[in-house]
C-alpha cells in the first residue's frame, strides 16, 4: 500500500510498515522542543507525574529555546527563564540556549534549523503551534500542549492521529514581486482558517521546489493558520545541503509514494499570483494588495518566525533602500545570528542594518517580540488603535497586544513598500526593475 510522506514518517516512528490516515498510533519522538512560556508548566507536569528527581527520557533529544518574553521587566516572565535555566542545569541538558549568554538564539522555529534539529524523516514535537515550520525539511513537526510535552519528556512517546494530506501545487516560476508569504496567504484565504484542520498540508511543484529553505519555511510555518496539523515539503538537495552544513547527525529522508492517496490536490499557476494581505481580524480574510491599496496605516512590523528570517530582511531592504519610512517601523530579527547577518550582508553598497536604520526604522533584539503582544513593555507591541501591516502570522483580535488595533498580514516586500508610503502599497512601485541577462 502506498503512503504519503507524512504517513511514511509516522509509520516508521511507530515501528510499522504501514499506517492509514485516520489511525491513531504511538510514535517515538526524535526531538522535543519547548520555550519560556510553555517550558515551565511542562517541567511542572513532568515533575508532578514522574517525580521531583526524574530524568528526561533522552537529554540529547530535548531542546529548550527561550524566545517569547525576553527583553522585558515583567518579573513573572523573567522567573520563567529562571525555571528553564535551573532545569537545564539540573538535568545537564546540552541543548539549552540561555538568555544573556552567547548561546542565546531567539525565535525557536528559526533557531531549530540553524542548529540542525530539523532533519528529514524525523518526528519533532514542540510546545508552540508554529512548530509546523520544520515540515519544510521533510520532518513531521507539530505543536502540542504542556501535558503532552510533559508526557514526552518522561516517556519519549506520544499518540498521534495519522492525518490525510492536502496537496498544494504551484506550477511555474514565481514572479519576482511575489514571495512565499503571498502563496500561503492565498491558500489560507482559499481554504479558511479551519480548512486544513486535522490534516497535513503539502507544498509542491516547481514554484515551491525552486524556493530556498527560508521560503519553504514561510509556507509550512503558516499551516497552523489554516488549521493544519503539519506542513510538509518533500526533501531534496536544497534540504540536504542546508541540513548537512548544520549537523553531522545521520537522517533518513522519506518521500511520497507515486500513487499515494491525498485528501485533495489544488493547483495554482504561479504566474497568476498577486501580492496578498490578510485583513483584520483573521488570517483567512484575504484580499489582493490592489483591493486594499491606499488603506492608511500607523505602523509597520517586520519580524517573527514567519517574516523575520534573513531573506525576509533582504527582500524588505531592496524595497526600502534609499527611502525613509512614513510610519513607525519595527525591525525584529528572529535570531541573534540573523541580527549579526544584517550587519554583514550588503545590498547596493550598504548593509541591511544601515538600510533600515537610515530609513528611520526601530531596530530590535532577536525574539518573538510583538508578534504575540506579550508583556506591556514588549518592543513594538500595539497599545491602542494602531493600524499595522506586519510580516507576522496572526491577526486575530488582540494578537499583537491591543484588541482595538487592526493588523494586516503581508509579505516583507509589501510591508516594506507600505512602510515607505504609510498606506498599503503594491511592492512593484518600489522594487528595482530586474536587469535581464
Amino acid at each position: 500500500m502506498s503512503m504519503t510522506l507524512t504517513e511514511k514518517i509516522l509509520a516508521k516512528a511507530s515501528g510499522r510498515t504501514h499506517v492509514n490516515a485516520g489511525e491513531t498510533v504511538w510514535v517515538d519522538v526524535d526531538v522535543l522542543m519547548t520555550h519560556d512560556v510553555c517550558g515551565p508548566p511542562t517541567i511542572g507536569i513532568f515533575k508532578r507525574e514522574f517525580g521531583e528527581d526524574a530524568r528526561v527520557w533522552d537529554k540529547d533529544k530535548v531542546v529548550i529555546i527561550p524566545d517569547h518574553y525576553i527583553f522585558t521587566n515583567d518579573k513573572y516572565a523573567n522567573r520563567n527563564v529562571d525555571i528553564l535555566r535551573a532545569f537545564a542545569a539540573d538535568q545537564d541538558l546540552p541543548h539549552y540556549y540561555d538568555v544573556g549568554s552567547e548561546r542565546y538564539k531567539g525565535v525557536c522555529h528559526v533557531a531549530m534549523p540553524e542548529e540542525g534539529f530539523t532533519r528529514p524523516g524525523e518526528v519533532l514535537f514542540g510546545t508552540d503551534s508554529h512548530t509546523c515550520t520544520a515540515g519544510a525539511f521533510g520532518q513531521f513537526a507539530t505543536g502540542i500542549g504542556n501535558t503532552d510535552a510533559g508526557f514526552i519528556m518522561g516517556t519519549g512517546k506520544l499518540w498521534v492521529k495519522v492525518p490525510e494530506t492536502m496537496k498544494f501545487i504551484f506550477e511555474g516560476e514565481i514572479p519576482p514581486h511575489i514571495m512565499a508569504k503571498d502563496l500561503i496567504l492565498r491558500i489560507i484565504g482559499d481554504i479558511g482558517v479551519d480548512g486544513g484542520t486535522y490534516r497535513a498540508m503539502e507544498f509542491a511543484g516547481d514554484g515551491v521546489m525552486n524556493m530556498d529553505m527560508e521560503g519553504r519555511m514561510t509556507l509550512t510555518n503558516m499551516v497552523i493558520e489554516g488549521g493544519g496539523k503539519n506542513g510538509v515539503v518533500e526533501p531534496d538537495e536544497v534540504t540536504f545541503d542546508y541540513v548537512r552544513k548544520r549537523t553531522n547527525k545521520e537522517f533518513t529522508p522519506l518521500y511520497n509514494d507515486p500513487d499515494a492517496k491525498y485528501h485533495s490536490v489544488r493547483t495554482y499557476k504561479s504566474s497568476e499570483l498577486e501580492p496578498m494581505v490578510a485583513k483584520p481580524h483573521s488570517p483567512d480574510n484575504k484580499a489582493t494588495v490592489g483591493e486594499v491599496k491606499n488603506t492608511p496605516l500607523t505602523r509597520a512590523y517586520i519580524g517573527s518566525c514567519t517574516g523575520g528570517k534573513l531573506s525576509d530582511f533582504e527582500a524588505a531592504a531592496r524595497v526600502i533602500k534609499g527611502h525613509e519610512v512614513g510610519v513607525e517601523t519595527y525591525v525584529v530579527p528572529a535570531t541573534t545570528k540573523i541580527r549579526e547577518d544584517l550587519k554583514t550582508t550588503w545590498y547596493d553598497g550598504e548593509t541591511l542594518w544601515d538600510i533600515f536604520q537610515n530609513a528611520g526604522a526601530h531596530m530590535g533584539e532577536a525574539s518573538c517580540a510583538a508578534c504575540l503582544g506579550g508583556p506591556s513593555d514588549t518592543f513594538g507591541r500595539l497599545q491602542g488603535e494602531e493600524v499595522c501591516i506586519s510580516t507576522t502570522n496572526r491577526n486575530f483580535p488582540g494578537r499583537m497586544g491591543s484588541k482595538k488595533a487592526q493588523v494586516y498580514l503581508a509579505s516583507p516586500y509589501t510591508v516594506a513598500a507600505s512602510a515607505i508610503t504609510g498606506n498599503i502599497t503594491d511592492p512593484r512601485e518600489y522594487l528595482p526593475v530586474e536587469e535581464t541577462v
Binding site: C38, P40, G44, N146, T147, P397, G398
Partner: protein, 185 residues
C-alpha cells in the same frame, strides 16, 4: 460517559482563538501556585471583543473583573474553537474559571487535544450551530451518556457528536491517568 453537566451557558462566536481565550500577556503566571493560578480564571475569555462576548447581546464578561471564577459553566461556541497557538493555558484557564465543558461545531486540533489530554474541560461537538439556539445566561444541561444538550430555559434539546477515539482518555481524566491505567508508564 454518564456525566451530567448543568449550569449557565456563555455564548461566543466562530474562530475564538487562544489569544481571546487567554491573552498572551497573562501567560506569565504560575499554573501551580494557588495565588497566581487564580488569575487564569479572572482573565479567561477576556480577549474576546466586547460586542462578541456573551451573545446575542454581547458586552458581558465571562468572569467579572473583580472575581476569579465565572458564573458560567458551559461555553457555547461556533466553528474552529481554540484556533491559534498551542498554549495549554487556554483550556486550563477555562477550567480554573469553573467551566466544565465547551460545546462547539468544531475545534482547532491542538486545543481539542490539550483539553482532553490535560483533563481540563470536555470539548463536545454539536451538529447544530447552537449560537442560534442558546443565549448567554440560559440554564443548560449536557448528558454525556445520551450525547445531548438541553436548553432548560427554552425546553429544547440538541444532539452532540460522540467523543469518539478520545472517550477513554476523557473518562480516565487525561493522558497520564489513561497511560497509567493501561500500564504504559
Amino acid at each position: 460517559m454518564s456525566k451530567i453537566i448543568k449550569g449557565k451557558a456563555f455564548v461566543v462566536g466562530n474562530d475564538i482563538d487562544t489569544d481571546q481565550i487567554i491573552p498572551a500577556e497573562h501567560l506569565v503566571y504560575s499554573l501551580d501556585d494557588p495565588e497566581e493560578r487564580r488569575f487564569y480564571g479572572r482573565f479567561a475569555l477576556s480577549g474576546v471583543p466586547e460586542d462578541k462576548s456573551g451573545l446575542p447581546e454581547g458586552g458581558l464578561p465571562f468572569t467579572d473583573p473583580d472575581k476569579f471564577e465565572s458564573d458560567y459553566k458551559i461555553i457555547i461556541g461556533g466553528k474552529n474553537f481554540g484556533c491559534g497557538s498551542s498554549r495549554e493555558h487556554a483550556p486550563f484557564a477555562l477550567q480554573v474559571a469553573g467551566a466544565e465543558a465547551v460545546v462547539a461545531t468544531g475545534y482547532a486540533r491542538i486545543f481539542f487535544r490539550n483539553a482532553v489530554d490535560g483533563g481540563f474541560i470536555i470539548p463536545y461537538e454539536s451538529h447544530d450551530d447552537l449560537i442560534e439556539h442558546i443565549s448567554t445566561g440560559d440554564e443548560v444541561e449536557i448528558d454525556g451518556e445520551l450525547n445531548i444538550i438541553k436548553n432548560l430555559t427554552t425546553g429544547k434539546s440538541y444532539p452532540l457528536k460522540k467523543l469518539g477515539d478520545v472517550v477513554d482518555i476523557v473518562d480516565a481524566g487525561g493522558i497520564f491517568k489513561y497511560a497509567a491505567k493501561h500500564g504504559m508508564l
